[in-house]
C-alpha cells in the first residue's frame, strides 16, 4: 500500500512538472500543434474516403461456362491463349486494358476480378463486391434458355445484395458468344431475365424472413419487373470472347473506372 502511495505521489509530481512546462510554452505554439494534429487526421480520413470512391475494380460474374475467364484474358492480353477450363480460383489482375496499351499518356490500370461461376465458389463473390466499381454479369447467349433460370437466380442474388444496392454499383449484362449464328439477342435475353426475376421476386420474398440472404427487394411491388426499376444502373451489351469483340465491355469499364 505504501508503495502505491509513493507511486501516486511521484506521478502527481510529474504531472505538475509537465503542466508547468506546458504553461511555459507560448499559447501560439500550442494552437499550431493542435491545428497540425487535427489537420493530419482529417487528411488521412479524407484520403481514405477519396480512395474508396475511386475504386478501379471490375468484377466479372456469371454462371460457369459463360466465358468469364476468356473475357478476362481478352481484356488483359487480347488473346484466349490455348483455351480455358472451369476455374477453381478467381483470376485477378491489375493491368492496363489490352486495347489501350498502344495509347499514349497516363492510363490508369484496371483491377479486374474473374469470380468462378461454380455455385460452390460463389461465396467468393462477396469478398470482391464491396470494392467493385462495376459488375459485369456474363451470360451465355448461345445456350441461354436452359440456363435462364439459374442465371436469373444468380443475377437476382447479385442485385439484392446489400453491398451492391447501397453503393449503386452499375451492372452490365454482357451477352457472350454472339459470334455464333444461333445466339440470342440481348433484347431477348433482357426480357427473359426480367420475366424470370419477376417470378423469383414472388417466391423469394415469400420465404420467411429468418431465411435471410436478400436484404433488399427488387422493383416496385405489384408491377412487372424491369431492370430500369433497380436503384443501380443495369445495362446490356454484346460481346464475343472467342473472337475478341469486346469493345462495348471496354466502353463500360472506361465509363466507370475513370482515368
Amino acid at each position: 500500500m505504501e508503495e502505491l502511495e509513493q507511486w501516486k505521489e511521484q506521478l502527481s509530481h510529474f504531472a505538475n512538472l509537465a503542466l508547468d512546462r506546458l504553461l511555459e510554452v507560448p499559447p501560439n505554439q500550442l494552437y499550431a500543434a493542435a491545428a497540425i494534429v487535427i489537420f493530419t487526421t482529417l487528411l488521412l480520413l479524407s484520403i481514405r474516403l477519396f480512395k474508396r470512391a475511386k475504386s478501379n475494380t471490375v468484377v466479372l460474374a456469371g454462371l460457369s461456362g459463360s466465358g468469364k475467364t476468356v473475357i478476362f484474358y481478352q481484356l488483359r492480353d487480347g488473346s484466349t491463349h490455348q483455351g480455358t477450363v472451369t476455374s477453381m480460383e478467381p483470376n485477378e489482375g491489375t493491368f492496363i486494358l489490352h486495347n489501350e496499351k498502344t495509347r499514349k499518356g497516363k492510363i490508369k490500370p484496371v483491377h479486374v476480378v474473374d469470380v468462378p461461376g461454380h455455385s460452390r465458389l460463389r461465396p467468393k463473390l462477396d469478398e470482391y463486391l464491396p470494392q467493385a466499381a462495376g459488375i459485369v454479369f456474363v451470360v451465355d447467349a448461345l445456350d441461354f434458355l436452359p440456363n435462364c433460370r439459374a442465371a436469373s437466380e444468380y443475377l437476382y442474388d447479385l442485385l439484392t445484395k446489400g453491398s451492391v444496392v447501397r453503393k449503386k454499383i452499375p451492372v452490365l449484362i454482357l451477352c457472350n458468344k454472339t459470334d455464333k449464328v444461333t445466339a440470342h439477342t440481348k433484347e431477348f435475353i433482357r426480357k427473359q431475365m426480367e420475366k424470370e426475376i419477376d417470378k423469383l421476386r414472388a417466391s423469394r420474398s415469400a420465404i420467411s424472413a429468418a431465411d435471410i440472404a436478400n436484404e433488399f427487394t427488387l422493383g416496385v411491388p405489384g408491377e412487372p419487373f424491369f431492370f430500369t426499376q433497380c436503384s443501380n444502373k443495369v445495362t446490356t451489351a454484346d460481346a464475343s470472347g472467342l473472337t475478341g469483340e469486346i469493345s462495348q465491355l471496354e466502353e463500360f469499364i472506361r465509363e466507370h473506372v475513370k482515368q
Binding site: 477453381m88 480460383e89 478467381p90 460452390r120 417470378k199 415469400a206 420465404i207 429468418a210
Partner: protein, 626 residues
C-alpha cells in the same frame, strides 16, 4: 495410349496441352472432373472416371499448390496405364521449372514432354518384365529411352560425355581388333547376348536376332579364327551366366557415351555389321544400364530429398521455441505433408467429435492436405491456423448447395405447366418423415400453395391415421387408400387426384425402411419410377453418426440399381430432423451432404409445425471447427 495431357492454372487458363496426341476428347471430361470432383473436395481420390457416349476415360491429376497449377492426364479406361502417375510427377517437376506467372505459352515444353513420356513408358515396361512380347521393338524403344534419359541428365556435361563417347568407341574398336585380350569384349557381347536372350526367352531363333548373332559371331570368328559359332555362342552364354556381376561395371563406363553417337534411334536398326555390333553393344548396355539408370536417378531423387530433408530436418527436429517463433515470423518455405499431419490429425479428431463420419473426416483431411501441400506459409501464421482456414473454406464449399433449393420457385414453375409438384419423403424408420412432412405442408400453406398429402405408408399400423390427424389440423386434403396396398399405385392415384382438384403440391409419405431391406427398397424404386416425382427428399436424423454414410449411399445405390429406367432418379435433397437435440454435434449434416452431393433443404428443429428452418452454412462450418 495417353489421350490427352493438360496443364492449367487453378484460375482456369490452359497453359499447355499435348499437341502431338491431339486426339479430340469426347464430351468434356476436364470440366466434369473439375466440377464434380476437384471442387467437391474429392481431390484426395486416386482417379476419376468419365463416361461420354462412345468413350470411357479415366483421369488422373496432380496439383502444384505453390504455383497454383493443375496437371491432368486423360486415358482410355480399358488400358490401365501404369505409368501415368509417374509421368504426371515427372511433368510436374519439369514444368514447374519452366513456369513463370507472366508466361502463357510453353511450346518449348513439347520436347521435354515427349522425352518424359518415353521414359515413363519404358520404366513401366521394365516393371512388366519378363514379358513374352516380341523382343526387339520394345528393346529398341528402351534403348532410345535410355538415350533420352542420358541426354536429359547429361545435358549440362555434354562435353565431358562426348569425350567419353570417343573414348568408348575407341575402346570398342580396340576390343574388336585386339582379339586375344578378349575377356572384355567377350563379356560385353555376352552381356548383350544375355539381354537378348532374356527378352526372347528360350526361342531366340527369331530371325532378326539370329541374323545379328551370326553377324557378330562371324566377326568374332574372323578375329579369333577358332571354334564354331554354336559352341562359341554357348560359351558366351556360359560366360554371361558365370559372371553376370562383373559385367555391369565395365559396361557402364564403356557404354555411357553411346547415346551421344546417335540421337535418332528409330532408324538405325538396319545398319551393317559394325552398326549391328554397335547396336548390340548398346543394347547390352541398356538392359543392365537401364535398370541402373533408374536406380541411380531414383537415388538422385532420393538424394535431393535427403538434401532438402537435411535442410528442413534440423528445423523440424529442434523445433525449439525460438525456431518455431522464427518460422512463424519469417513464414515457412513450403508446406510438406509431414508438417500438415499433426494439424490435420487434430482437425480430424475434432470433426469426429462433432459426429462427422470417420470416413468423411478422413477424406476431407486428405483433400485439404492435397490443396495445401507445397504451398507457402504466410508470415505470422501457424500451420494449424492455415489448415483451419483451408478446412473452413472446404466445409463452406461442400455445404453450399449446388442446385437451387428454392422449392417455391420450382412449385410455381410446375404450376405454370399445370402439373402438381410431387415431393417424396424417404428415409429409415423413425426419423420423423411424417412429422416433417406436416411441417413442410404448413410452410407451403403459409405461402399460398395448395397442398395435398398422400398416405403411401401402407405398412406401419397407425401411419395413415397419424397423417390424417395432421391433415385435419392443417385443414388440407389427404389421399388415402388404407393399408396393404401397393404404395406406388396409391401415389399415382393421389397425383391424378391432385390434377383433378388443382392442388399445387403433393407430399408423398412413404414407409420407413432400412437401407438393407431389399424388397422394400425395390418397392420404393418402383414408386419413384412410376410417379417420377419432382423432388426426392431424404429424411435423416441429425443424431446419426457413421451410419449416415451407409444410409444415404445405400439409398442412392438401391434407387439406381433397382430402377428399371435407364436414367435412375437419385436423392435430390436432404431434410435433417431432430436438429434441436444435438447441440454442437452437427456432423451428420456434413456427412450426408458429402456422401450424396445433395443439399440440406430443410432442417427440422422442434416439435411444432413452425420448427422448420434452412441450414445456415456458415454457422455449421464454424460449429464444426469450434
Amino acid at each position: 495410349m495417353l489421350e490427352q495431357l493438360l496443364i492449367f492454372t487453378r484460375g482456369g487458363l490452359i497453359l499447355w496441352t499435348c499437341n502431338h496426341l491431339s486426339n479430340a476428347l469426347r464430351g468434356s471430361p476436364i470440366d466434369t472432373l473439375i466440377r464434380s470432383c476437384l471442387l467437391e473436395e474429392r481431390s484426395g481420390a486416386a482417379s476419376f472416371n468419365y463416361d461420354a457416349p462412345g468413350a470411357a476415360y479415366s483421369l488422373k491429376w496432380t496439383f502444384h499448390n505453390d504455383l497454383g497449377l493443375v496437371f491432368v492426364a486423360v486415358y482410355q479406361r480399358v488400358l490401365h496405364l501404369l505409368y501415368v502417375d509417374d509421368l504426371l510427377a515427372a511433368v510436374k517437376r519439369e514444368f514447374s521449372r519452366l513456369y513463370h506467372p507472366q508466361k502463357t505459352a510453353y511450346r518449348d515444353f513439347d520436347e521435354i514432354f515427349q522425352q518424359l513420356q518415353i521414359e515413363a513408358e519404358s520404366r513401366s515396361e521394365n516393371f512388366k518384365k519378363p514379358n513374352p512380347v516380341p523382343a526387339l521393338a520394345p528393346n529398341r524403344k528402351q534403348n532410345g529411352t535410355w538415350q533420352g534419359q542420358g541426354l536429359g541428365q547429361n545435358a549440362g556435361s555434354e562435353k565431358k560425355s562426348d569425350g567419353d563417347g570417343k573414348k568408348g568407341r575407341k575402346l570398342e574398336n580396340d576390343n574388336f581388333s585386339v582379339a586375344n585380350s578378349n575377356s572384355n569384349a567377350n563379356v560385353n557381347h555376352s552381356g548383350g547376348k544375355s539381354s537378348v536372350n532374356n527378352n526372347i526367352g528360350k526361342e531366340n531363333e527369331s530371325s532378326n536376332v539370329g541374323a545379328f548373332d551370326v553377324n557378330r559371331l562371324q566377326k568374332l570368328k574372323g578375329k579369333k579364327g577358332n571354334g564354331n559359332g554354336k559352341k562359341k555362342d554357348a560359351l558366351v552364354v556360359a560366360a554371361a551366366k558365370g559372371e553376370p556381376k562383373k559385367v555391369d561395371k565395365p559396361n557402364r563406363v564403356w557404354d555411357q557415351p553411346a547415346p551421344q553417337t546417335k540421337l535418332d534411334f528409330t532408324d538405325h536398326v538396319d545398319g551393317d555389321g559394325d552398326r549391328s555390333a554397335d547396336f548390340l553393344a548398346k543394347e547390352q548396355g541398356e538392359s543392365m544400364m537401364d535398370k541402373e539408370e533408374i536406380l541411380s536417378s531414383d537415388s538422385e531423387v532420393e538424394d535431393d530429398d535427403d538434401d532438402t530433408g537435411k535442410d528442413n530436418m534440423p528445423v523440424a527436429k529442434k523445433k525449439g521455441w525460438f525456431s518455431s517463433m522464427f518460422q512463424s515470423i519469417a513464414g515457412k518455405a513450403n508446406l510438406e505433408k509431414s508438417d500438415l499431419e499433426p494439424a490435420l490429425k487434430a482437425l480430424k479428431d475434432r470433426l469426429m467429435t462433432k459426429n462427422v463420419a470417420e470416413e468423411i473426416a478422413e477424406k476431407l483431411c486428405e483433400s485439404v492436405a492435397a490443396s495445401l501441400e507445397g504451398k507457402k506459409l504466410a508470415s505470422f501464421t501457424r500451420i494449424s491456423s492455415t489448415v483451419h482456414t483451408a478446412m473452413e473454406e472446404a466445409l463452406v464449399r461442400i455445404l453450399t448447395p449446388r442446385r437451387s433449393i428454392d422449392i417455391l420457385r420450382d412449385v410455381h414453375a410446375a404450376k405454370e405447366q399445370r402439373k402438381p409438384y410431387v415431393v417424396v419423403f424417404v428415409g429409415v424408420n423413425g426419423v420423423g418423415k411424417s412429422t416433417n412432412l406436416a411441417k413442410v405442408a404448413y410452410w407451403l400453406l403459409q405461402h399460398n400453395v395448395s397442398v395435398m398429402m398422400a398416405a403411401c405408408d401402407t405398412f406401419r399400423s397407425g401411419a395413415v391415421e397419424q397423417l390424417r390427424t395432421h391433415a385435419r389440423r392443417l385443414q388440407i386434403p389427404i389421399f388415402e387408400k388404407g393399408y396393404e396396398k401397393d404404395p406406388a399405385i396409391v401415389a399415382k392415384e393421389a397425383i391424378q387426384e391432385a390434377v383433378r382438384n388443382g392442388s399445387d403440391v403433393v407430399l408423398v409419405d412413404t414407409a420407413g425402411r432400412m437401407q438393407d431391406n431389399e424388397p422394400l427398397m425395390r418397392a420404393l424404386s418402383k414408386l419413384v419410377y412410376l410417379n417420377n416425382p419432382d423432388l426426392i427428399l431424404f429424411v435423416g436424423e441429425a443424431l446419426v453418426g457413421n451410419d449416415a454414410v451407409d444410409q444415404l449411399s445405400k439409398f442412392n445405390q438401391k434407387l439406381a440399381d433397382l430402377s428399371t429406367s435407364p436414367t435412375p432418379r437419385l436423392i435430390d435433397g436432404i431434410l435433417l430432423t431432430k436438429f434441436d437435440t444435438i447441440d454442437d454435434k452437427v456432423g451428420a449434416a456434413l456427412s450426408m451432404v458429402y456422401v450424396s452431393g445433395a443439399p440440406v433443404m430443410f432442417v427440422g428443429c422442434g416439435q411444432s409445425y413452425t420448427d422448420l428452418k434452412k441450414l445456415n452454412v456458415k454457422s455449421i462450418a464454424k460449429t464444426l471447427l469450434k
